[in-house]
């Protein structure tokens, strides 16, 4: 079993729904992004093209962040999910320097979305002192997956651009899509063997 995700760049419309649903699911603070969308405009008018690239932790099979972690806080979980044990993290941020995809965020202090007004009830309920001074990242919503649900970004993708499943199962939808549409990993030359594949936009 190896959990993986396929993101269809032909379907993605850059609505940022994945980014927002992730923030809602995990209650992350300002400046902390588990999922994000990078937007680029290429060409000159009238021949321009807008490209979106949804990003998240790629849960690499050979994750450099796990190798450099001095405490074992960064580790592999079931299904190849790369996770951080907040109780073990010392906040050295070596994993952030090791990740070629910028998938990790350092939470240096408790921040509110409305500065000077304190925490909203939602923030007070979701933020945890445990997460201050440590590195945070996407965990493929492993608690949802265990409960039989899809990760929040997949479940809330309005364009159904995301598919989640078992990469080791040749009959799974993700494996089928990768085979059928020529799914590619981002920057395979890094040698990290990401579990997230992109389907080409055209």
């Amino acid at each position: 079993m190896r959990y993986g995700m396929v993101i269809d760049l032909k379907r993605c419309v850059g609505c940022y729904g994945c980014q927002l649903s992730c923030k809602a699911e995990h209650g992350t603070q300002p400046g902390v992004f588990f999922a994000r969308v990078v937007k680029r405009e290429f060409g000159t008018f009238p021949n321009t093209r807008l490209t979106f690239l949804p990003l998240l932790c790629f849960h690499c099979g050979d994750a450099p962040c796990v190798d450099v972690c001095p405490t074992g806080a960064s580790h592999y979980r079931e299904g190849g999910v790369v996770d951080i044990d907040a109780d073990l993290c010392v906040g050295c941020r070596a994993c952030m320097q090791a990740c070629p995809y910028g998938a990790r965020s350092y939470n240096d202090e408790q921040r509110a979305y409305y500065p000077g007004q304190g925490l909203t009830p939602y923030e007070a309920a979701r933020y945890s002192e445990q997460n201050v001074g440590v590195v945070m990242k996407c965990d493929f919503c492993i608690d949802r997956v265990r409960a039989g649900l899809e990760p929040a970004c997949v479940a809330n993708c309005a364009a159904r651009a995301r598919t989640f499943g078992d990469l080791d199962d040749p009959k799974s939808e993700v494996s089928h899509l990768i085979r059928l549409r020529g799914g590619e990993q981002l920057q395979p030359e890094q040698g990290t063997n990401p579990s997230v594949y992109y389907l080409p936009p055209a």
Partner: protein, 294 residues
């Protein structure tokens, strides 16, 4: 206001093609650079002090490495958990922590009880710890796959060279105070040799990184004519290499005074710090997408 500034900067960085690394240079990140600088100087000085059997140098080395440990703790997000950093299987940070944990107690014990079989054991342990400290930080940077400018086997050699040089500089600084009886001209020659080695190594490193990939080339550009150019030219090259090498070459004609040697040592230390500062600040992450309008 500060929240908005930080938040906006994070957003700007995440959307940018070229993202500068900020974690190990800005805010508390500067403590890490100071810690790396001090640990190299202290470990190098311990090796020289053990070789020369010079008590004041050994004492200075212990103090400097202890300060380096404090700086590392000041950098950590969760310093109270520092003792967990022992996963030495693949982490150079853990190896550095083990090196410091090995060196400091053994060094103190050797300083107090230098004779007999116990003295030999303490010395061996402290030298092993110091050697680990000399090599660890370059490897910490080199293991950073996200920052191609650092991800090079040349960097550990460069940082080890700087650590040796920093250690010698501390010996030269302590010498006028302690009145060490060793031969000044010989130390001046070693200092000149190590300084020239560091200069050659730095030039080689930058030449290699310029050819490696776009992100590394971008970092080199930042270093030689970008936002890191001032500390690089003034601190690393001018104060740290050109002036000490010039004084060292002048010293070939005749022995340098203790004051001149101390000046060379102080300049070398400043240059050592700025080498680490500039290389850390020039680090850029691998671009996620090709350049375009964000």
């Amino acid at each position: 206001m500060s929240m908005l500034t930080t938040h906006d900067r994070v957003l700007a960085d995440l959307g940018a093609t070229w993202r500068p690394q900020r974690q190990w240079i800005e805010g508390r990140g500067l403590w890490l650079i100071v810690g790396h600088f001090l640990s190299g100087v202290g470990a190098g000085a311990w090796l020289f002090g053990a070789w020369l059997d010079d008590g004041p140098t050994l004492l200075a080395a212990i103090v400097v490495v202890a300060l380096a440990g404090v700086c590392h703790l000041a950098f950590l997000g969760r310093p109270k958990r520092f003792w967990r950093m022992v996963r030495v299987g693949s982490s150079w940070i853990a190896r550095g922590f083990v090196g410091m944990s090995l060196m400091l107690p053994a060094a103190v014990l050797y300083f107090l009880f230098p004779t007999g079989a116990a003295g030999v054991l303490f010395l061996a342990l402290s030298v092993a710890g110091a050697a680990l400290l000399v090599v660890y930080k370059g490897n910490v940077y080199a293991a950073s796959k996200g920052v191609p400018f650092w991800n090079s086997p040349v960097l550990p050699i460069l940082y080890a060279t700087y650590a040796i040089r920093g250690g010698l500089a501390l010996v030269l600084l302590v010498m006028p105070v302690a009145g060490g009886g060793f031969e000044r001209h010989g130390l001046a020659l070693i200092e000149l040799w190590v300084a020239v080695s560091a200069a050659v190594m730095l030039g080689f490193y930058l030449a290699v990184m310029r050819q490696t990939n776009l992100a590394a080339r971008r970092s080199v550009t930042e270093l030689v004519r970008g936002r890191v150019a001032a500390p690089f030219y003034l601190g690393t090259l001018g104060v740290g290499l050109v002036v000490p090498i010039a004084i060292g070459v002048a010293g070939l004609a005749g022995p340098l005074s203790q004051g001149a040697l101390a000046l060379v040592a102080a300049l070398s230390l400043v240059g050592d710090f700025f080498a680490k500062y500039a290389i850390a600040k020039a680090g850029m992450y691998v671009p996620i997408m090709p350049a375009g309008r964000a």
